[in-house]
Symmetry: D2
Subunit: 336 residues, 4 copies
């Protein structure tokens, strides 16, 4: 059956190569990431990012974000982020939980991206005394909640502020693959070379089953990270099955191929949408101006997606979206 559902890439099928890798890992009998697959991943990510990287993996993006942020801030400090960031809006307070009650301090910004200027203004408004919570980290999302990707120079501008204020810089990359695919840059350029300290590199939305990598650049990882993971109940005795997913996703750049596939779907719909686009499509999310009536018309044709407030709809394409189904949807939108 060809899916006409565009709710989210987070429920999409697992890629066959990932499934195969998991089955192949069944014969391993070493517990707790002590196996050869697990042990190979630091090197694999170091290759991909062209720099020594420390990699720790977990099953969800929520906990990947939370552990990195808990590692970067103390309980009485804060993380600066966009007011519509996933960590602020959609994680039931997980970052505050992992970070012992640390605060998320929010700011605005077009397309759910914060700006260096906005950041500066926010920081200028914080009195440096013991009464006010002091930020110790910044978190940006790439691609953002509205599917906006970051260029290396945009990241660099944020990192420059971070450096001046001695703040760590985290990138939530639940859709990092889609963002990199859109930018056409190297993973290194938009992360550590631009000043990112640690990345939540998401695979689950992009063809894996339950696999997210925390990638620490430089000496930003180290003591504490694995304790946070274990203490959160995220150390799997059969962790090899997550490592195997990630290994498969990195092999032959499957992560990039999958991201390009879902981006192509989104671009096809975007091309048909024209003025209906609320944001430029820079990854695999499309925000469409649709009246309730127009949305209903599409739904009667079998398509489905989330309403996103008044006269707005969100559609997300997945790596396995059928090209003909996408073309049909594009045509249906054009015909509205």
């Amino acid at each position: 059956m060809v899916s006409k559902r565009y709710f989210s890439d987070n429920a999409a099928a697992v890629h066959p190569k990932v499934m195969e890798a998991m089955m192949a890992a069944n014969h391993v009998d070493t517990a707790y990431d002590g196996d050869a697959i697990s042990q190979s991943l630091d090197a694999a990510f170091s290759d991909l990012f062209e720099t020594p990287a420390e990699v720790v993996w977990v099953a969800t993006g929520t906990v990947a974000n939370s552990i990195i942020l808990a590692h970067f801030v103390r309980p009485w400090q804060a993380v600066l982020c966009h007011e519509e960031a996933h960590i602020e809006v959609d994680e039931c307070g997980a970052p505050a939980f992992y970070a012992g009650g640390a605060k998320l301090m929010t700011l605005g910004g077009a397309g759910a991206k914060i700006s260096a200027e906005g950041l500066q203004a926010k920081l200028a408004g914080i009195r440096q005394d013991v009464h006010q919570i002091q930020p110790a980290a910044i978190s940006i999302t790439n691609a953002s909640e509205y599917g906006q990707s970051w260029s290396p120079s945009e990241v660099g501008a944020i990192a420059e502020v971070a450096r001046r204020h001695r703040l760590k810089l985290h990138m939530d990359g639940a859709r990092f693959a889609n963002a990199v695919a859109h930018q056409g840059c190297s993973p290194a350029d938009v992360t550590w070379r631009a000043g990112v300290d640690a990345l939540s590199f998401g695979f689950t939305k992009n063809g894996a089953m339950t696999a997210e990598a925390m990638v620490f650049f430089g000496d930003s990882g180290g003591a504490g990270v694995r304790e946070l993971k274990k203490r959160g109940g995220h150390l799997l005795s059969k962790g090899r099955f997550v490592a195997a997913q990630i290994q498969a996703m990195l092999e032959d750049d499957l992560w990039l191929q999958n991201a390009r596939a879902s981006n192509r779907g989104a671009a096809c719909i975007a091309a048909a949408a024209g003025d209906r686009l609320y944001y430029p499509v820079e990854a695999n999310e499309i925000f469409l101006r649709l009246t309730a009536q127009e949305a209903a018309i599409l739904r009667t044709q079998g398509f489905d997606f989330y309403d996103w407030g008044q006269d707005l709809a969100r559609l997300v394409t997945s790596w396995d979206q059928d090209e003909r189904a996408v073309a049909e949807l594009a045509a249906a939108i054009a015909a509205l």
Copy 2:
């Protein structure tokens, strides 16, 4: 290759039926436990336990224990447990983390099982004022850290103390299947009928990949449990793959068949061990008196296992342990 490793059941292979069920779940496209497999589990567990049960699943036993205990106690309260319990010794403080700093209060007891008398004495020693932490729950482990299983009446004696002191009763059942298989009782008899409020029902050690069910009896679950799960980063967007594992484990009592298989292996070794047994074998763990020299002899024959302190070794059998390899090990032990 036939495994001669007896380190732990926690790294054993995933049962083929579980693997198949996961592959079959790949075509589902609904996120966050909204799918039909996920929705079917309350009923499946209610059938198995002969009573309405509320079931929430996670990937590790550590977080299953932690969420249940965090649900049962407030941050300024305590959980009573054995001083060698997994929650006390091997979870890096996860229960305290989830429960906002709540305390584990420990007591002794033979075979890592607490006794009703020991519990009474411990409770009698706690002043009921605001200076001392007051317990709000008891946690027992079945089978215990030393592979000792609980009879329904033993559980009932603990539950009677719990009732008198208005404490919730949790059972850590990382090896619940092995314990039930050994006792030959019904799952209901040794849990809610005996007074257990909630059970961590482990599948990972028994043929699943990453699947543990929190089973809440009566009205012991409810508001807060799912928030704790999400906030801990344990809500999987593709949760169907965990639900599918559990569904497969319940079908045709695969959980019981697997447990019986590993128990058989342990019984075979136990029969050969005779006086070497440090504890009676009541599940799939064998604690053997072995000198360093004797241990070395077994290892030169290719067997491996954990040393467990001075002149003691721990061997754990798994559902997939090869019968001939077990027989060889039994013979090797008998020949020492």
Copy 3:
């Protein structure tokens, strides 16, 4: 020496009657609030508020707010408050600390007061699922951060929203006395009769040394409150010295007399300030439009106060502010 400093009422002298009461309490030799003074306070507050009240006292307003909110929300829930509320801006995250990481969700509103309409809109925007943090309490500040007091009907409008959404209503009354003195209402009218569940009743800014009362109406207190206090390190062995302060503040309505005195000072300055007033003066805080030059002129005359952003100054009067000094300041402002 007559003080010409208007920084804050939080450093003002302790009233002589409070000092005397503390000295008188020195002969008591019972620890931990077991003494007669401590035992008398429930009745004293019940009289004052014309309803049975449960009272627990602590040394700071920060912890009074934090314990009440921690008592009202679970760690995965939220408190709704104004974005400039003291709990949000000036307590270094204490409410989140006490409440296990619970979130403060903020909204705007003129004069640092939230409105029922704003509250409704905020609540309407929160999806009721496990991904988004759900609020469980509302906190309002009376007088607000800009010295605005609440009428009973304004509080009632907030409480009506609280009731509909099953949220607890907390009032931060660091300057409750000043607000009540300004409104001329009874303490009951603006609290429980209007729907407030618990009040932080501040005495420290109003003539006490270190004394804040948490006043719980109805059954909003109870189990947990004293544990939070002890666990926070706020149970004093010589708690009688705080109880004595509060007893002295309640006797002959000293709290009201002191508040009227500081309000009179503020009113005198307000009368002179005319159009310079940024907010109407409804307690003992005055927000004045002052250029940097004008501020400098006042300072050369010996007056001092906080700058409050661009061309704005905050002045706070205390219960012991000298009337002539206030008159001089009023004259100096009028002469600008």
Copy 4:
């Protein structure tokens, strides 16, 4: 009236000089420890301890202990202490609360003092992996819960273990003055010179009202301590009244005079008690073997104290204990 009550020194009267100092501080009008008295304390403690010391003060010993320990360990680490330590038994979990759920790991030891050997054995039993909580600090109590004081060399032996394992060493000195008075050593000898990193120096039990100093030696204090204090709601706007108490206690060694006075009372009772002494009296606590009948006899003569388990009583003398009343009690005990 002459007190015949020996329950605890924690409810004793405030020394007149402390009271006077508090009254004198009333004219200060600077908030939040910005006043001259507050500013003078680092120097005063540096003099007393013959080394640069950083001092932060709070109102209770519970929070002094908790902040120091929270400063020394991360949430996933542990503090090693005696199983009868105040932090373990009598603080309602405050150290775990402040330290984000960190664990207290307990060991035994005569007279509620841990030994270097016991400590070594405990440490040897902790596997160094991510499953087991790793200790990061040791806390000892001087005088101990049974009134036993530490000699500099005893402290040094603990500190030597601490150094080898890179653990911080905290001393809970709720009755530090009594211990020092008994040992006749300098405060420096039994703290930093012996290897203590930070001391909770108690004044409340020794003539102050609500004053405990956290004394950090070397670079053991610094960033985070004041945030923990503020976040716990312990930063007083009128903090000068606590600073004034401490200043008065240090002046002319009032702390030592008071401690000597209460120790004298205890020594007098001890001399009369002979074989009844359960522990040698090394501070101001006396543990007496008393049958229920004997205890009743003393009580009919107007004396009172705590029963401390079967046939044991605890008596505590205070700085203001009347010498004749003590002599009468001594005589009454001798006459039993």
